[in-house]
Structure formats: C-alpha cells, structure tokens
C-alpha cells in the first residue's frame, strides 16, 4: 500500500517530481520534516485508531446501551453465522456494490471520452455534469424520493411518455436496490469521468498518428490504443468506486432506512440500525469489525493487484 491511490491520479506529474526532488545540495533528512506531519497524524489516528481498538473490545462484550456489560468472548461473532438478517445484508451489499460500481464505471468512462473531445461550452457543460457529485446527499435524497413517488413522481410520468408502465422504484423490495444504485450512478459517474479524463489528457499522440496512417477506424483506435492506455486510471476509479459503494450510507439511509422490510439494508445500514435504534453496542461492534475487515481487505487486494499490474507494465517496457 502506498500513496499511489491518491497521487497516481495525477500520475504524470507525480512521476516528474519524484525524479527532480532528489537534488544533491544541502538536503534535509526525513526527520526534519516529522514535526510538520506529526500533529495531523496524531489527530487522525486518535480519532480513528483508538476508537477502533475500543470497537474490538466492545465486540467481545454483551452490551445493550443502558444495561450492564458482560464479557462474552466470541459469542457476538458466532451469532453472525445464524443471523439471517446479516446474511441478507451481505448479499444486498454485494448486489448494490456491483451495480453502483459497474454502471458508474461504464458511464463515467464514456463521459470522459466525450468530454475529451473539443466542443463549444465544454467547460460549462462539464461543470453541470459534476454538480450531482458535489451536492449535499441528503438534499438530493429528498428530491429523489419525490421523483420516485409511484403516483405523483416525475419519473413514472416520463416513463409513461415512452410507453413504459409505472414502477414502484424504492417502494418495492424487488426494485429498491437498483433504484438506489441509479442515484449513486447519477451522483458518482462524474468522479469516474474526472479520473479517466485525467488519463486521456496524458495520452501520447504518436500511436494515433500511425494508426490513422494504417486506416484504423475510431472504434479500433479506442479499443486497441486508448482503452489499454487508460486502464490504470480506470483501475483507480474502480478501487474508489468499490470502497465508496460498500460504504454508501447517506442516500440509502435518508430514502429507505434499509426498507421496505429489510430489502435495502446493506451492512452499513444494518450496523447503524443495530448499534443505534436497537442500542445493541456489543453486536453492533462485532458487525463493525467484520465490515471493517471486508472493506480494508478488499482495498488491500485491489491495491495489491494494481501494484502488480504496474510492475508488469514496467517489466514489459524494460
């Protein structure tokens, strides 16, 4: 794991600066810079790491808020295996994450290719396109609830114009997750677009010139040249999307609180519902630990795959 997830997005720039930064004159050593970094590190780790150890300890206890605390060993974890609601939450999380990663990746990449072209008002239109990403999620959720309304909602009206029968959207257990993933797609495709657009901006021109001479079609050029070259950027977008989709909370919670029934209760929502409305801190903490391990584990695996791919590419270049 390295800084790469962040700075790789500005890939070319970072590579350039690391080559330059090794100037030979009176160089400061790393320890000269620790005082600059330490306060921030202490703050972030004390707000996250210390409570995190506390969570692990809590997960080993039977503890309803307001009641007494009993040491319970691994019984909270054992309970996970027989908890059907937990099993449903896992499946719903996977379902949601697949949709809320796949759709934004495809649409965002398409958008990047489009916004890479030069056309009038490109800056303004790109600004409009990224507005959903910056808008306050709860404010967005509220308007989506109204738009999804089966009788009064504007979405069913628009569907009726093209002859599609009305949908129940977030009000039916069958369609609630795709509907929520639709909002996430609308909101976060722009981030994929920005990341991939950064990749497109860094492309060399030579391969296209020679392909042009060979008489390649646009699709061939995209498929054979562009796509492989922007793959590392799509990978970064994929990693970020998976992490964020797994952790999605605001939109789902504001719109359905996990309902109807438990149909949209992802792990994150189940965790909240257990710890807060039900005040079951012990079991809630066990859920938190499991959820944390899944998120961190997946992130590490994806980062590792990305690193390996990078080395493979470097190997091929050399």
């Amino acid at each position: 794991m390295s800084v790469e997830t962040g700075s790789a997005l500005s890939g070319a720039a970072a590579a350039g600066s690391s080559a330059r930064a090794s100037g030979k004159s009176i160089e400061r050593t790393a320890k000269d810079y620790w005082p600059f970094v330490l306060p921030a590190l202490i703050i972030v780790s004390s707000v996250i790491l210390f409570p995190w150890l506390f969570t692990i300890w809590m997960s080993l206890n039977e503890w309803k808020l307001g009641g007494s605390i009993h040491f319970a060993g691994l019984s909270n974890y054992a309970k996970l295996f027989t908890d059907e609601r937990f099993r449903d939450a896992v499946w719903q999380t996977i379902y949601y994450t697949v949709l809320a990663t796949g759709l934004p990746l495809v649409i965002g990449t398409f958008a990047a290719v489009i916004f890479h072209e030069k056309f009038p008002l490109r800056g303004v239109l790109r600004g409009l396109y990224i507005m959903p990403m910056m808008a306050t999620p709860v404010a967005i959720a509220l308007v989506w609830v109204m738009m999804f309304h089966p009788q009064l909602g504007v979405l069913n009206y628009l569907l009726s114009l093209v002859g599609i029968p009305p949908q129940l959207w977030v009000f039916s257990p069958k369609t609630v997750i795709p509907s929520l993933a639709l909002i996430e797609t609308w909101q976060w495709s722009p981030l994929v677009m920005l990341i991939v657009l950064g990749g497109l901006a860094s492309l060399p021109t030579e391969p296209y010139e020679s392909a042009m001479i060979d008489g390649a079609t646009r699709w061939q050029m995209f498929h054979k040249i562009t796509l492989p070259l922007i793959m590392p950027f799509i990978m970064v977008a994929l990693i970020l999307r998976v992490i964020d989709a797994l952790k999605s909370f605001d939109i789902i919670f504001a719109i359905t609180q996990g309902g109807p029934g438990n149909a949209s209760e992802t792990l994150n929502i189940y965790l909240y519902n257990t710890a807060f409305p039900y005040r079951d801190m012990g079991y809630g903490s066990a859920l938190a630990v499991v959820f944390f391990i899944i998120v961190i584990g997946l992130s590490l695996v994806m980062l590792w795959m990305r690193q390996r791919n990078k080395w493979d590419e470097q190997g091929a270049d050399a």
Binding site: T5, G6, S7, V44, A135, K247, F249, D250, N268
Partner: protein, 276 residues
C-alpha cells in the same frame, strides 16, 4: 467527407445531451418543487413551471421562519468552519512534510481515514463523547469532522507541494533559514492556490456530511443535513417547503462548484477523496 463530420458532430451533441440532461433535469426539478404549492406538487401530469400567480415564494420564507432552521444553519457553519480551519492549520504542514520526505508510510495513515467505514469508529466515539459529557455541544461533530477535512487537506497539499520547485527552498536553506522558516516564508506563500483548493474541498465534504451528525447530533446541535433528514422522516411531508430547505442546504456547495469548478476538478483529481 463533410457529411460524415456533420454526422459525428450530431452524435457528439447527442451524447453530451444524454450525459448532462439528468443533472440539469434534476436541479431544475428541485427548483420547481421548491416554488410550487402543494396542489401543484401533487398534480398529475406533473407541472414543471407553475402559473405566475401560483409561485410559492413563501416556501422559502417558511423555511427560515418556522422551526430552528437558522440555528441549524449556524450549527453547520460552526462545525464545517471550525473543522476546515483546523484542518488547514495541521494539514497544510503535514502535506508539505509528506511531500518533501516522500513519506509513503505516513500517507498510509491518511489513506486509512479514507477507507475506514465511519460507523466502525463512530460507535465508541459516541460512547466516549457521552462519558465526557460533550453530547449537548458541537464539539463531537467538530472533532469527528476532522477525519474528513484533515485527509482532504493533506492529499490536496501533497499533490500541490510535489509540483512546486525546490530551488527557492534550497536557496533559503543555504542562507541559513531553518525548516520552519523555509516553510513559513518560502513554501507557504507559493502554496496559496493549493490552500484555496484544499479549503473549498474540505468545506464541501464537511458541509455535505450526514453520518456523523445522525449519530452525534442532539436536538439542538443538528447540522443542516440532519435537520433536513428529520423534516423528511418525522414531520408531515409537504414537498414545497421541504424542497426549498433542501435547495438552501446544498446551495452554498452548488455555488462553489460553479464558481470554482476548475480548482475543484484539479483538487479532486489530485486527491480523489470523498468524505464519509
């Protein structure tokens, strides 16, 4: 040849239209909902533009006169403002330090903040703040919002300092400046544009945050997103005033996005961070 290029222009235009229209449609509809009376908001087929004498301006005045909206607005300003300012104070030097010593390990801690699900550390924080007797105050939210703002600032500043030249700093060192003086008098003045980007992004992500508030805010200490959520779930739903409130909540962010679009895009692609 010209026929073909015309065709590709049309298809490009169509693709742009397809991409941008869901965003435009949404925000226009949001505005429309907020300016209509209940009778128009409940009409089928839906009414996009109400008749001139049916524009419900009082939806907006109602938001400010009823409930504690101004108080919640002020809570949001305090929480986001404090968390952002504090994050700049500790995050800008940290970004500088990490960029200069290329400390990938230190950056990992920041990365953990990006990856960790908020709810996995909010449960104990909720209990700790309760024991400390801080729950009726804004402190729990200010402190937890640092988990969003500090990493955002650090990431943006690492990206920024990596691209600023070292020559001036080396010259200052030769002239006998110590590390702090080099930072204060050489690096910091150059970093102003980067700091502006960090400030904007940190503000937006903190302003938008919901999950910290829903766990840590009390009746009096709600921030705007929590206040809007409560209107949505607990009060009798009347869409006009509710949409007006929603629009007011997200307006500062939308204005910033329009005004500082270039900086936001630069900052996002350098750091690619999303709060929560």
């Amino acid at each position: 040849m010209t026929g073909r290029s015309l065709l590709s222009k049309i298809s490009l235009g169509f693709a742009v239209f397809l991409l941008v229209s869901p965003a435009i449609l949404f925000f226009v509809w949001m505005l429309s909902l907020s300016l209509k009376y209940e009778i128009d908001n409940g009409a089928y087929p839906p009414i996009l533009i109400p008749a001139p004498d049916m524009i419900a301006w009082e939806n907006y005045t109602n938001v400010f006169s009823s409930s504690n909206f101004i108080k919640f607005f002020w809570n949001s300003v305090i929480v986001t403002g404090s968390a952002t300012l504090f994050a700049l104070v500790v995050g800008v030097p940290a970004g500088y330090g990490i960029a200069r010593m290329k400390a990938t390990k230190a950056a990992v801690v920041v990365l953990i903040a990006r990856v960790t699900p908020a709810l996995s550390y909010l449960i104990p924080l909720f209990l700790i703040f309760q024991w400390l007797g801080l729950m009726g105050t804004l402190w729990p939210q200010i402190i937890t919002h640092l988990v969003i703002t500090v990493p955002v600032v650090i990431w943006v500043m690492i990206g920024f300092f990596e691209t600023t030249p070292m020559e001036l700093e080396e010259a200052a060192t030769i002239d006998g400046a110590n590390g702090w003086e080099v930072f204060r008098h050489v690096a910091l003045p150059i970093a102003k544009p980067g700091i502006a980007v960090a400030l904007i992004l940190s503000f937006i992500f903190s302003w938008n945050n919901f999950v910290f508030g829903i766990v840590l805010a009390g009746r009096e200490t709600r921030t705007l997103p929590v206040a809007v959520y409560n209107m949505l779930s607990f009060e009798q739903v009347s869409w006009g005033p509710l949409s007006a409130a929603a629009l007011i909540v997200t307006l500062p962010v939308l204005l910033l996005t329009i005004l500082a679009q270039r900086q936001i895009v630069a900052g996002l692609t350098a750091g690619a961070v999303k709060g929560g």
